[in-house]
Subunit: 327 residues, 2 copies
DNA sequence: TTGTACGCGTTATCAG
DNA sequence: CTGATAACGCGTACAA
């Protein structure tokens, strides 16, 4: 026995169409009646029936998110942030952990109003009818099929190099995944080279291949880093996990951070704060990223400007305790 | 312009109620008409409208899954398997990455027919009206509030010890998280002790605290393991990640698996097969777990037997290349 | 075996 | 400003 607008109407002594208007904050109803209706609705514990709403309005206010297969903490954090960002809006979000194809099927079944996907997901281009899609991440070969949001990776790396350079570091090593076809990783190394050139320390360019993006990859890269001559005074870690591994390995060798080695990490997520050493990092703060993604998909839904565009978000440098002046 | 049963009816030259019956495989329509309707429906690309269906039938055939906050690969795999298991059923699954409270709100908004949660999630007990819930995992202090499915952890560990013991191992070390309040971890160590006793090798009981459940925790535990005297000939790794770290550390020390060291891992997921060394493991196969969870929640929904029970699933030993006879 | 008519809870369009 | 009333797409008694 769920309570409907009719029940509310009866108790509030108005017609149920008035209740509907009041509930939707229509200007066509007197402030007093609106108040009364709202009060009664609350008292009765009225909950709008999504199905009925959708049936008539053709909209669900639900957005589907295609969860990528790979589980990296940064993405998990992003997903959580996106989910939170939706709480400020009338929209809800549902997740699918399936293949893009199955995900699409589910989303069509739920008739979501929009879809968020990550570049890695490789959405099927067809079969979309007219559901707006927003994409996050670097698109391969610039074939922008959907409106895409991305961080300005180049700028981010430049911020990192700039920060370290200002602190007197020259021998700045970049530790990341080098041997790969992942466009994001490639863009990061290339930006590193560019930035080193920009600050005229290209003779110090020094890249270490972590061969992966995980904790252990960073951990093992430290060996290679410490074998070089001269030993760098600063490291740019290519991902949250990599940097974590680097820190651990340095600690075990009793190399103090930041006195003997400065570290800046790529990715800007709250977890950077609570690492073994609070981490200086560069990147678009994940909550901003989330906010932008959410507002983009909503704009797309509500305004239907179907042009494919790319929006590059501006990263910031967050200084913490893992970097210091080079003495 | 979505296609409805009326459109199908027109094309198939029947009334739309007949279409409805045909689509629902009602015995009240002739086989021939049913076939024709189904064919037309497919041709027109008919998709049932969930909202309308729900509005009249009061059921959504949707089940909500409360995604736990902690991201461990085993759970991710379980979630994926659950999602797959639903594909064999008329039900769909939606995921929430929010707090249990917000998740519940979302699920009520979608009026899901049932909920799956993990023990860690600590669901709010009230506010459930009458939505069936199935729980996965060890419940604290045995206060079984919801029907609960769990693996028989004790039996699993016993299988591991038994297997190693049969292979002539006596010095079997258990490497897992010891100093914790997590009931699952506690149950695992205790079962280890029990099993060692059962096979009368309790004088060899040897536990190493990994202080965590991650890759690096296993990796670092190897030091401690190798320092002991006598050095054990076999290791039981407390989780997928722990075992991965152990394998890596052993490889780096050129200790060959399984010739010099046998390893059995807790958790039974397909990824065990593709580890550096294909891993012998114990646990309830994750797809079985998923199947059981799914069928339980569906039974609960369709039969409404609201008693709280615990179902302990029987684990199996999967022998691969990480274990061998002790010589 | 098939078709008709009603209702599910809501929004939106008109009259009042 | 407020109140009837017609959709929305589907399931289902009930009638044919």
């Amino acid at each position: 026995m769920t309570v409907t607008i009719k029940d509310v109407a009866k108790v509030a002594n108005v017609s149920y169409s008035t209740v509907s208007k009041a509930l939707n904050n229509s200007p066509l109803v007197k402030e007093a009646t609106k108040k009364k209706v709202l009060k009664v609705a609350k008292e009765l514990g009225y909950e709008p029936n999504l199905a009925a709403k959708q049936l008539v309005s053709k909209r669900t206010e639900v957005i589907g998110l295609v969860w990528p297969t790979i589980e990296r903490i940064v993405l998990a954090t992003l997903v959580t942030n996106i989910s939170n960002a939706f709480k400020q809006t009338p929209y809800s979000m549902i997740l699918s952990v399936d293949t893009p194809e199955t995900a699409m099927e589910t989303f069509r079944k739920f008739s979501v109003d929009g879809i968020i996907a990550f570049a890695e997901s490789d959405l099927p281009l067809e079969s979309f009818a007219n559901i707006p899609v927003v994409n996050y991440g670097v698109y391969k070969q610039g074939d922008v099929s959907y409106p895409t949001i991305d961080a300005n990776h180049e700028k981010a790396i430049e911020l990192a190099v700039d920060h370290l350079h200002r602190q007197g570091h020259k021998h700045i090593v970049y530790a990341g995944l080098l041997d790969t076809t992942d466009p994001l990783q490639i863009e990061k190394v290339e930006s590193y080279r560019k930035a080193m050139k920009k600050f005229s320390i290209e003779n110090c360019i020094h890249e270490v291949d972590t061969k992966g993006l995980d904790w252990q990859d960073g951990y093992h890269a430290v060996d290679k880093i410490l074998q070089s001559d001269p030993i760098p005074t600063a490291i740019i870690g290519g991902s949250y996990d990599i940097s974590g591994g680097i820190v651990r390995a340095l600690q075990e060798r009793e190399i103090s951070i930041p006195e003997e080695m400065s570290i800046v990490s790529y990715d800007n997520i709250p977890q950077m704060e609570t690492m073994e050493v609070p981490m200086t990092c560069v990147g678009v703060p994940v909550n901003e990223l989330a906010k932008e993604i959410v507002s983009s998909i909503i704009d797309l839904i509500e305004e239907k400007e179907e042009d494919a565009w790319i929006k590059k978000l501006t990263p910031v440098l967050t200084v913490r305790e893992s970097t210091a002046f080079n003495k």
